[in-house]
Subunit: 353 residues, 3 copies
C-alpha cells in the first residue's frame, strides 16, 4: 500500500486536464445542420456540419456582444448569431454584419476536428503543438462487423478523473454493480502493463458461474462454471477501454465470446464531465438481446454515476475536519499510474493553467 497525495487537480479551480490533447466533443450523429452548443474544457464550443457534411467546431461566443452562437442558425456553411445577425464562416472569420456593406476583420477561434467512426474529436489546444500530440485513440472492434454496437452519453457532476479511476479498478463491480452486472468474483490474477503514455491491466479469474443473463446468451446451463478474463487500458486522458472475454474452462485459451467498452470522458468544468460510451459484443447480437444488454449497461453506468457524484459532492463540500488525501492499495496500480501519466501530459502543457 502506498500513500498518494491529493493530485493538484483535486483542488478546486486548478485545471487537471491538458488542452493539448484530442477530446471527444460529441457523437457524430449529434452534429448536423442545427448548431450544437457544448461546454468542453471550460470553453464554449459550437459544433455543426457544413452543407458538404464536414464537422466544424468554433468558439461558441459572438465577439460582438457575447451571445452564444449556438442559439443562432446556419446560413449555408456560416453560422449566424441569433442576436444581431453577425455571420462567421467555418474558418471563424466574420463574413457578414447586417448593417455593414462589407464585414469587419473580426473572427472567432476555430478548433480542429476529426470525425472517426461514431465520434467527433476536437482539439482545443495550442495549435503549435497539434502535430506533436498523439492522434485520437481508435479501437478496431468499433468498426468490426462481427460486433453489434451501441452507444450512450450522460453528464456526470464529478471531475473527469473520477471516472478514469473507476474503470481501471474493477473491484468496484462487486459493490457498485452487484444488482446490475451480477459479477461477484471480482478478484483475480492481475497484471499491470505500462508504456510511457498508457497503462493497462489484464485479470484472469478462476472459472465461476456467470450471471443468468450471460449464461443464457452463451447457451450454457445456469450455474455452469465458465472462464472469464478482463482487460482494460488508459489510452489518453480522453479515452479508456475495457473488455471481457469468456471461454469454456476446458479450452480457456480460445475465448469464444467477448464484449468491449470504450469510455470517453471530456471535462466540462472542474466538477462536471461529459461521459460518452460505446460498447459492443460479438455474441447474442440480435436487437432484442442487445436491448437487454444495453438496459443492463445503462443501469450499471447509472450506479457509477451515483457513486462518483457522491464522491465529488463530498470533496466539493470541503469538510473542515477529518482526514484528507487518499490511500491506495495494490488494486489501484493502474489508476495511480493513470494519474501519473496525466501529470506528465500536464507537464508538457503549453497553455497556462
Amino acid at each position: 500500500m502506498a500513500m498518494v497525495a491529493k493530485p493538484a487537480g483535486y483542488e478546486p479551480i486548478a485545471r487537471n486536464y491538458p488542452y493539448n490533447c484530442w477530446w471527444v466533443a460529441a457523437f457524430a450523429d449529434e452534429v448536423g445542420r442545427v448548431p450544437l452548443g457544448r461546454w468542453l474544457l471550460d470553453t464554449p464550443v459550437v459544433l455543426y456540419r457544413t452543407q458538404g457534411g464536414e464537422v466544424v467546431a468554433l468558439e461558441d461566443r459572438c465577439p460582438h456582444r457575447q451571445a452564444p452562437l449556438s442559439i443562432g442558425k446556419l446560413q449555408g456553411d456560416a453560422i449566424e448569431c441569433g442576436y444581431h445577425g453577425f455571420q462567421f464562416g467555418r474558418d471563424g472569420r466574420c463574413v457578414r454584419v447586417p448593417t455593414m456593406a462589407s464585414p469587419p476583420p473580426i473572427s472567432i477561434e476555430t478548433f480542429p476536428v476529426r470525425e472517426i467512426g461514431p465520434l467527433v474529436w476536437v482539439y482545443l489546444g495550442d495549435s503549435a503543438c497539434l502535430d506533436a500530440v498523439p492522434p485520437p485513440p481508435t479501437m478496431a472492434w468499433m468498426s468490426d462487423p462481427s460486433f453489434a454496437i451501441r452507444q450512450g452519453k450522460t453528464e456526470i457532476a464529478a471531475n473527469y478523473l473520477l471516472l478514469k479511476e473507476n474503470v481501471l479498478d474493477l473491484t468496484h463491480f462487486g459493490y457498485v454493480h452487484a444488482g446490475s452486472f451480477g459479477i461477484t468474483n471480482v478478484v483475480g490474477k492481475l497484471t499491470v502493463t505500462r508504456t510511457d503514455d498508457t497503462v493497462g491491466y489484464e485479470e484472469i479469474f478462476d472459472p465461476a458461474p456467470l450471471p443468468d443473463g450471460l449464461s443464457h446468451a452463451f447457451g450454457i446451463a445456469p450455474g455452469t462454471p465458465w472462464s472469464r478474463s478482463t482487460k482494460g487500458a488508459f489510452l489518453s486522458p480522453a479515452a479508456q477501454y475495457g473488455s471481457a472475454s469468456f471461454a469454456d474452462p476446458r479450452t480457456p485459451e480460445t475465448p469464444n465470446a467477448s464484449h468491449q467498452f470504450a469510455h470517453f470522458t471530456t471535462p466540462i468544468d472542474h466538477e462536471h464531465m461529459h461521459y460518452f460510451y460505446v460498447f459492443g459484443r460479438d455474441y447474442a447480437r440480435e436487437p432484442a438481446a442487445m436491448d437487454h444488454f444495453a438496459a443492463m449497461v445503462e443501469k450499471g453506468f447509472k450506479e457509477d454515476e451515483f457513486v462518483l457524484e457522491q464522491v465529488q459532492a463530498l470533496i466539493s463540500r470541503r469538510p473542515r475536519r477529518g482526514s484528507t488525501g487518499e490511500r491506495s492499495v495494490k488494486a489501484d496500480a493502474a489508476g495511480v499510474e493513470a494519474r501519473r501519466i496525466i501529470e506528465r501530459w500536464m507537464q508538457r502543457e503549453t497553455i497556462p493553467a
Copy 2:
C-alpha cells in the same frame, strides 16, 4: 469598427451602476398597505403607502435582529417588524419596542421617493447629492389621453447594462424578434445624437410592407409598402425610450400613427435586474386590439430576456479559453455612447464601490 474593452461593470462583483441616480422601484399600483420588499441596487428596500396615500421607502432590515421588515405589517403609518414587534415610522425612527416604555434612539435609513404617473422612483444615493442629481425622466405620452397605455414587469437574470444596449440597437429585431414583431427590414438611415448625458438615435426606413397585424390596425391592405421611422434614447442609467412612427409613403412627413415604449431597468445585483416597461399607442386603442398588441410585446420581451440571460450565463460562467472583450460596429454607436455616459455617472459617484 472600433474595439471596445470590457467595461469595468462586466467584471463580476464590481458595481457598474451609480447610486446617485433616481431608479424605478415599483409600479405605483404595486405599492399599498401591504409592505412590498424589493432588492434594489444590492440593497433591501421596503415600500408601502401611508394612510394618507404617500409612498414610503425604508431600508428593509430591522436593526434589532436583521429581519426583513417587509415580512411584518403596517400599524398606522409605521411598519412593525414581524419578529419582535419593533416599529419604525416613515422617517425611519423607532417609535415602539414592545418591552420598553419609550422607544430607544435607533433608526433605519429612509430613501426619498417620487411617484410620477404609473411609476415609483427611489433615490438610494448620497443625500448630499440629491439636489444635483437629474430628476426622474418623464415622457409626455404616458399622460397623454390620446394614447392607450399598458405596463409590465419581469426579472431578468442579467446585468442591467445588457438591456440598455439591447434597446439602443434595433438590428436585433430581425434575429431575436423575427417570430414576434415581424419587422425584417432592420437597417435604415441611422442618425445618432448626443448630449452630455443622453444619447439618441433616429432611423428612417424605406417604405416596406408591414407585418399583417400592423397593416390591419392601420386599415391598409396587407403588403402595402408603408413608411416607418424609429427613434429612441438613453435618458439616464435607469430609463430609455423607443418609438416607431408610421406614415403613408405619399405623405411621409405627417406620421399618422405611433407607438411608444419606455424601458426602466433597475439592478438587483450584478447578475439580475428588474425590468419595468410601459408602452402605448395612439391607434387601434380598443381593449381587444390592445390585448393583441400587448401579447405580441410580451412575447417579444421574452425573446429579449432569453437572449440576455444566455449572454449573462456565458459571461458568468467565465470561459477559460477563447477570446475576450467585445467588438463594436457602427450600429453600436448609441450603445457604446451609453456606456460612456454611465462611466461618467460612475466618475461622479460619491459612494464607495
Copy 3:
C-alpha cells in the same frame, strides 16, 4: 439599550461554534442497522448501531477514494464502503480490503458518542479535552413518567446561533406566533440569571385569559384570567430549554400544569443547522390531546423557521448599502449573554478555526 457589534460568527466562513462540546447527532430512533450519513459541524459523520445495539459514529469518508461510507452497508459491526468494499470496524480501523489477504494499516476517525434518553450525542472535538468538557445537559422531565413526550426534527437554512437567540427572547411570540400559540401578553416581569456557562430567564405574567386550546385543556372556562410564568435557559452551545407553568390566580404559588421544551441545535455549516426538539407536558396527556398540541407546536416552529431563514437570507445576500450590526435592548439580555458564553467556549477552543 446597548449596541452589540456583529459577532465573528456572523461573518461568512468563520466558524462560530466550538468543536470541544457535545452536540446532538440524531434521535436514538434514527440510528439503527442502516448507516445514517449526517453532516455535523462541517464534517461528514456516519452513525449506526452494532449488533449489540451500541451507537457508533465514524468519519463518513472512505480514505481509499473518498466515497461516503454511508452509501455502503453494515457487515456485522463493521461498515463496508459501497464503492470498493473496504471495511472499517467500530474503532475506525480498516479490517478488510477485498483484494488483500490482510488489511492495510489505514483507519478513519471515530467519534465518542453517548446515547441519553431519546438523543444521541457526539463529540467531534479534541480528544485531549474530552474529560474537561461539560457532559451533555440532561433534563429530568424527559424521563419523568408524569410527562407525555413528543419529538421532532427539521433542517433550517440559518446559522445555529439565530435559533439560540430566538428561544431566549419570547417577545417574538406576539408577532411570529400570534396565529399558532395564541399567546399575546408577551411582556412580563423578567429576571435574568447567569452562571459562568449558562444564562437563564424567568418571567412572570399578570393573570390573563389563555388561548382557547389551553383553557380547554385545563378545564377552565374560555376567557378566565389565569396565571402564567415562563422559564428558560441556555445550557450549552448545543442545548436550551424553555418551559411554561400555569396556575389558578388565587393560588399562583402552586402551578398545576406545565409544559417543557428542549431545543437542540447542531450546525451543519455556517448557514444551515439541524434543529432537534423534544417537548412534553404533565396535563392533557391523552394521545388525541397531545396530537393537537404537537400540531400547534409544529406550526409554531415552522413560523420560527420562516423568520430565521429570512434573516439568514438577508445576511447571506450581503447588502451593499444600509446599516450593519445589531441593536440590542433589555429584552435581549439573555440572548446577548448567550453569545458571550459561546465566545468563551470559542476562546477555550483547541482546534484551529
